[in-house]
């Protein structure tokens, strides 16, 4: 029983560690950046929404 509890605790900690790794977003979000760029360029150049 005690041993089981220890394993559970460890797995919780490990799970937190893993998800923390995911949360620290070290990868550049290319798709989001493209969307942001298009929005800003559209405003600066005053493009219509439908215009490419």
């Amino acid at each position: 029983m005690r041993k089981f509890l220890l394993y559970t605790n460890l797995s919780v900690l490990f799970g937190m560690f893993l998800s923390a790794c995911v949360t620290i977003n070290i990868y550049f979000p290319a798709a989001a950046a493209e969307k942001a760029a298009d929005k800003i360029i559209g405003e600066v150049w005053q493009l219509e929404e439908t215009e490419e």
Binding site: M1, F4, L5, T8, N9, S11, V12, G15, M16, S19, V22, T23, N25, F28, P29, A30, A32, A33, E34, K35, A36, A37, D38, K39, I40, I41, G42, E43, V44, W45, Q46, L47, E52
Partner: protein, 141 residues
């Protein structure tokens, strides 16, 4: 055995909260006073620059800036004004890229943002405007 359940529940909740957090990050933050002001200044300048885009005097570089592509199409009297426009615009663009990176708490993203913008300015440029291809040569859209 039953004592493990609260821990597992806690773990599940924690993982779920991470997913929600990651989802909220799907957009880049671009609404800061610094970005708004540089955007406004670029928008005001665009009306003056557009003539030179169309005439081929000014082109888009692959690193998200402007360059004087062909000075010969600009009357001598205007050349200084064009250079001033280009340098002011490039200054604003550099600030824009840096501020977006900073607004998202990743100053090290500045160059990625610059590259992304470089591609999008060219992609959204109108037919007849000039841009720098990947190999550095000038091409007309």
């Amino acid at each position: 055995m039953n004592r493990a359940i609260p821990y597992l529940l806690l773990l599940a909740l924690f993982l779920l909260s991470q997913v929600v957090y990651a989802d909220a990050n799907a957009n880049l933050e671009v609404n800061t006073p610094a970005i708004a002001s540089v955007k406004q200044s670029m928008q005001d300048r665009h009306a003056q620059l557009v003539t030179y885009y169309e005439g081929g005097a000014v082109g888009f570089t692959k690193d998200g800036l402007l360059a004087l592509r062909d000075a010969s199409v600009v009357p001598l009297a205007q050349r200084q004004a064009v250079n001033a426009l280009i340098s002011a615009e490039n200054q604003d663009r550099n600030v824009l890229y840096r501020e977006i990176a900073r607004a998202n708490n990743h100053p090290e993203w500045e160059n990625n943002i610059r590259t992304t913008f470089g591609q999008r300015w060219i992609k959204l440029a109108k037919a007849g405007w000039w841009y720098q291809a990947a190999n550095g040569s000038w091409a007309k859209k």
